[in-house]
C-alpha cells in the first residue's frame, strides 16, 4: 500500500443535477480511453495471427514451392484433397489424438491427486508447491532431452533398472509415444493441479462436513460433493490442456524427430512449410490444423458448455 491509501475515500459520487452533461462527457472520454488503451493489443493480435492465417488460406489454393517459385499456380482446393487423402495426414491425426487423450486423462487424475495432497497437507505445503513449479517452468526441450536420455540405450538408466536389457524404446511407435507422453505429463501436470487446487479451495467446507455427518463415505463425498462443486474449474483445465496437448511439437521433435509414426499435426505443418518449403500444401495443413482447433473449442464450449466467463473474467 502506498501513502495514497490513507487518503479518506469520499462517499458516493456526488449526484449533481447539472453534472449530467459532464457525466456523459466523462462517459465519452471513458469509451475513447478504453479503445485507445486496448488498440495496441488489438492491432498486434490481428496483424500477427489473423493476417498470416488469411495469407495461409490464400497460399493453400496454390501449388507453390519455394524451391520452384516460377511454378506457382492456382489449383483451387486440390491441396486440401491431396492432404486429406494422404495417410501421412491421418497418421499425424491419430498420433495427436493418442497423445492428447492419454496425457489429458492421466494429468487430470494425477493433477487432482496432487491438488488434493496440496490441499490437505499441513507441513511443507509451500515446499511441494515450489517443487512442482519447476517442471511447470522448465523448458520443454530440456524436459524432452532429460526423458530421452533416461530411456536412450547408450545413456539411460531405465533399461538397467527395470531389467530390460537392450530394449530400444525409440525403435517402435508405441514405446516412443509412451516416452513422449511421459515427458508431457511430467511437465504439464503441475499446471493442471494448480488450476484444480484453485477450484478445490472453493468447495464449501461446511458441505463436506454435512455430508460427513450424514454418513457419506470419502468416495461418495468426492463424487457427490467435491467434483460437482468444482466442475467449472475442471472443464476449464481440461479445455486448456486439451488444446495445449493438441499442439504438441517440442517433445516429438527432440525425442524421435517424428520417426516411427510419432509425427504430430504441428510437426507435419512445420515439416511441410519449413523443411520442405512446400508452402501450398503446407498452408493447407496449417488451415486444417486451425480448423481442428476451432472444432475442439466449439465442442467444449457448445456441447460440454464449458463456462469460459470464468477465464475471461467478464
Amino acid at each position: 500500500m502506498t501513502g495514497v491509501a490513507t487518503a479518506a475515500a469520499p462517499p458516493e459520487a456526488p449526484a449533481d443535477p447539472p453534472a449530467k452533461a459532464a457525466r456523459s462527457e466523462r462517459l465519452r472520454h471513458e469509451r475513447r480511453l478504453g479503445l485507445r488503451l486496448s488498440a495496441p493489443a488489438f492491432a498486434v493480435m490481428i496483424l500477427v495471427t489473423a493476417y498470416p492465417l488469411g495469407y495461409a488460406l490464400v497460399l493453400s489454393l496454390y501449388r507453390y514451392r519455394l524451391t520452384d517459385p516460377s511454378g506457382k499456380e492456382f489449383v483451387g482446393l486440390k491441396n486440401y484433397l491431396t492432404v486429406l487423402t494422404d495417410p501421412v495426414w491421418w497418421g499425424a491425426v491419430s498420433t495427436t489424438v493418442v497423445i492428447t487423450v492419454v496425457s489429458v486423462v492421466v494429468e487430470l487424475v494425477l493433477g487432482f491427486a496432487f491438488a488434493w495432497v496440496m490441499f490437505r497437507i499441513l507441513r511443507g505445503r509451500s515446499v511441494v508447491r515450489t517443487a512442482i513449479l519447476v517442471p511447470y517452468g522448465i523448458v520443454t526441450v530440456v524436459s524432452a532431452f532429460i526423458w530421452r536420455y533416461a530411456f536412450q540405450l547408450d545413456s539411460g538408466f531405465v533399461n538397467q533398472w527395470f531389467g530390460l536389457a537392450d530394449y530400444n524404446w525409440f525403435g517402435q511407435r508405441w514405446s516412443s509415444l509412451f516416452v513422449i507422453v511421459l515427458s508431457e505429463i511430467w511437465k504439464t501436470t503441475p499446471f493442471i493441479s494448480l488450476l484444480l487446487l484453485a477450484g478445490l479451495v472453493q468447495v464449501p467446507e461446511e458441505m463436506l462436513e454435512a455430508a460427513k455427518v450424514d454418513g457419506a463415505t470419502a468416495w461418495q463425498r468426492l463424487w457427490k460433493v467435491v467434483l460437482p462443486n468444482m466442475k467449472a474449474a475442471i472443464m476449464v483445465a481440461v479445455l486448456f490442456r486439451t488444446l495445449d496437448a493438441w499442439r504438441i511439437f517440442d517433445n516429438p521433435f527432440v525425442m524421435t524427430g517424428g520417426a516411427n509414426g510419432t509425427e504430430t499435426l504441428s510437426f507435419l505443418a512445420y515439416r511441410q512449410n519449413v523443411t520442405l518449403v512446400n508452402l501450398g500444401a503446407g498452408s493447407a495443413v496449417s488451415v486444417l490444423l486451425f480448423a481442428t482447433v476451432v472444432l475442439i473449442a466449439f465442442v467444449f464450449i457448445k456441447v460440454f458448455r464449458t463456462d469460459l466467463s470464468q477465464v475471461r473474467g467478464d
Binding site: 469520499p10 475513447r32 507441513r123 526441450v141 532431452f145 539411460g156 511439437f249 499435426l265
Partner: protein, 277 residues
Amino acid sequence: MEGRRTSHWWTVWGVLILAWAMFPLLWMVSLAFKSPETFRAGTPSFFPDEWTWENFQTVFDDELFTSALRNSFGIAIIATVLAVVVAMFAAYAIARLEFPGKRLLLSMALAIAMFPQAALVGPLFNMWRGLGIYDTWLGLIIPYLTFALPLSIWTMSAFFRQIPWEMEQAAQVDGATPWQAFRRVIVPLAAPGVFTTAILTFFFCWNEFLFAISLTSTDRARTVPAALSFFTGQSQFQSPVTAIMAASVVVTIPIVILVLVFQRRIVAGLTSGAVKG
C-alpha cells in the same frame, strides 16, 4: 479437517510429489557432471563415477551456445517487457472501463491462447523473408509478444480487479483525469500484479521452441531451445549427451531462481487468470 493421525500420511504423499518433481532434475544434473569419455565407455549408471565440470567448459567455450544464451535473454526480456506494457493498458481498460469492443478483445485473447502456432509457421516464414526480418531478434519478438498477450491480459486484469478502485475515484473527484488517476494511483498498486505477469510471460518466451527453429537459420537469433536441438557435441566422435545436459542445467537455473523467490506470486498468477479466487 482430517484427524491428526492421518496428517502424516499427507506429508508422505507430499514427499512423493516432491520426488516426482525433482527426480528428472537430479538425472539432468547427474548427466551434466559425467565426463563425455567415461560416459560412452561404461554401462550407464545413474550417478557419475567421478564428477567433472568438463561439460560446462565445453558449452561455454562453444559460440553456438553462448550466442544462443545471449539471444534467449535478449529476446525473452524484450518480448516480456513489450507484452506486459501492451497488456497492461488493455487489462486496465478491461478491468475499469466500459467501451465498445471489450468483449471482442477478451474473446480474441481467448482465441489466440488456443491458436495453433504451427499454423502460422509457413506464412510467417514467408512474410518474414519478404520483410527482411527472418533470422533476427525482431522476427522472434513479434510472435512471442503476440502469443504472450492473452496470458498477460488475463493475469493482469484479474489482479487489477482486486485493486481498491475507490481510490481512483477519490483522485478523480479531486480533479484528476482518468489518465492521471491511472498513472499516479493505480500503477503503484498494480505493480505486484504486473511483476507476476512479467514472470509468467518470461517463462513462456524462454520456453518457446517452434518459432525459434522455424524463423531462424543462424546463431544471429537462435535461442537456447533451438540451439540445443542442433547441438552435436565438440566433435563427431563425442556424444553430445553430457554437453546438452550441461547446457540444460544452465537454462534451468533462471527458472529455479525465479520459482524459489516468487513461488507464491507465480501460483497466484497462474490461477487468478483461469479461476476466480
